[in-house]
Amino acid sequence: MSLQPTLPPAAPGLATAPVLAQPVTEASKLAPARSPTMIALRRGLTHGGFLIGASVLGLIVLAALAAPLIAPHDPYAQDVSRRLIPPVWHAKGSWEHVLGTDKLGRDYLSRLIYGSQISLLIGLSAALISGAIGTTLGIVAGYFGGRVDALVSYVVTTRLAMPVVLVALAMASLVGGSLKVVVLVLGLLLWDRFAVVTRAATRQIRGQDFVAAARASGFGTARILFQEILPNILNALIVVATLEMAHAILLEAALSFLGLGVQPPLPSWGLMIAEGKPYMFFQPWVITIPGVALLVLVLAINLLGDGVRDVTAPEGRN
């Protein structure tokens, strides 16, 4: 490679045009002016799951961002005289505490709103860390193939053999459970699917003309991998990212439920379920409310991911 003269690319647009990666579809033949993004957007607006997922997730993100403005009470303010007040739809409920209060008299709705910050933060950061690790491994394995590929596949197999929940619990316990530790542990454990999908997607496009053109133009390997190939497999990565976000959120809830994740008094939804468990026989809503919140959040993320997969598929919905 070093012997090759480093010529400036004659037509830089040629080597970077992402459209080349997309097979020509009926839709693009009929409407040549429309970009893949526009097509995907138009499809998304008629895709039920995508719309529902995006709007519900959007609402939760808004609630998390605006938590100080919309939360009716301080999520940490205790009031022992107002313990375990039921939600408003119960006979004994009141509009003062719409979703009731917990065993320390803290407003459940406010804790739920602030809890969404924790779930979203953990989901996003864990997916970013694991995405960086898995994508790098997968793209390198898919591009080079051969021994590199065999080595990466071996590392992935090894990682899959380790029981995630158990290893995460043990690591969190040794380092001391906290928000930061949970993010790091999950980020370091959940990269396997990223690696597998990136590898497969890279193998599919590494032989295409725009990659060869980039190589012929004398681009460095890093530039080919991350500026030529990565943008073209982004759609697949977004789908995996939503899956792993959902996975990380559920695992955080499980770790916190077992007492080794996010620590009190933070309003993690998993922790709220753990704290409500002793009271669930008489006040079932103490675990139902945070559980439904988790279910709705993860459902919205999964619907969004499935939607993204459908609307970005070259052949459209299937």
């Binding site: 071996y154 197999t157 053999a161 029981p163 959902a246 499980a254 998993g270 279910l295 993860v298 459902l299």
Partner: protein
């Protein structure tokens, strides 16, 4: 086939060695074990004494070799907490977790395969949508919360089944449902997609054209072939379920391996934690190896 099998077995052995190194390193590098064992009120001298007593003052490599050498003979040392051999503790708890895993897998397969077949046969009808809803919900439901909800409905309100423990078969029903639901979506989707593919194939059309009764075509011709990849998936899911049973066992107070692991983590009883990680990993490796070999036996195209 033989060379394929040999190659797979070699890889599985190598993975097993790597996993044991990795799990050992994770535990020893995540924090200072001696400080963790000694507890928060220990003095520096006590910590130093514990370090020497458990051989934690030795170089990491020497510690690993000593541990691995014994682990090969299934001797995982003694529990810090129980003063008992770790292998005895694990053997006492393993049957509970295995029972839970097997029952959960049966629950998952008995619901997911018929549902997947029906969804494929009646594609784009209400039953297909129901199957989709079941699988989407299964992926989004936190398993521990699902378990608690099952307890509230079936044990507390309806009083059909016991709340917790592992005394009788009835105690395994709710935990198996909670754990099995976790494996259901993947099995359901694979069965549905496999059936759709097979139903569109030529030999199914031939079988129909011959005038065979539809049910016979469906079961004898289509399902038989569609279910092959499900076997491999079921093995992998079984491994995942054993690892994930820690949460379910905690919810239902089942005295299995997961519960032992959770308690041992809380007590800083590291020989036990380490051994359980290794045992679960070995079971997973053995299962995937068996699934690979079985698949290759059934489908010669995979032996490349």
């Amino acid at each position: 086939m033989l060379s394929f099998a040999l190659r797979r077995i070699l890889v599985a052995l190598a993975v097993a060695v790597t996993v044991s190194v990795a799990s050992f390193m994770l535990l020893h590098l995540s924090g200072d074990l001696a400080t963790a064992i000694a507890g928060p009120e220990a003095t520096g001298e006590q910590i130093a004494a514990i370090r020497v007593q458990h051989g934690l003052d030795q170089p990491l490599l020497a510690q690993f070799l000593a541990w691995a050498g014994k682990a090969l003979q299934l001797d995982f040392g003694n529990s810090f907490y129980f003063r008992e051999r770790v292998s005895d503790l694990i053997l006492a708890r393993l049957p509970v977790t295995l029972t839970l895993g097997v029952v959960a897998l049966c629950v998952a397969l008995f619901v997911a395969i018929p549902l997947g077949v029906l969804a494929a046969v009646r594609r784009d009808t209400w039953i297909d949508r129901l199957a989709l809803a079941v699988s989407v919900l299964g992926q989004a439901m936190p398993s521990f919360w699902f378990g608690l909800t099952l307890i509230m409905v079936f044990a507390v309100n309806l009083r059909w089944l016991p709340v917790s423990g592992n005394a009788t078969w009835k105690h395994f029903v709710l935990p198996a449902v909670a754990l099995g639901y976790y494996a259901m979506p993947a099995v359901m989707r694979l069965t549905r997609n496999g059936m759709l593919e097979v139903l569109a194939s030529d030999y199914v059309r031939t079988a129909r054209a011959k005038g065979l009764p539809p049910r016979k075509v469906l079961i004898r011709h289509a399902l038989r072939n569609a279910v092959i990849p499900v076997i491999a998936l079921a093995a992998v899911q079984f491994g995942f379920m054993l690892g994930g049973s820690i949460v379910i066992e905690a919810v239902f107070s089942l005295q299995g391996l997961g519960q032992l692991a959770w308690e041992s983590i809380a007590r800083n009883d590291f020989p036990v934690v380490q051994a359980i990680v290794l045992v679960l990993a070995m079971i997973y490796i053995a299962l995937t190896l068996a699934a690979d070999l079985l698949n290759a036996l059934l489908d010669p195209r995979l032996r490349s």
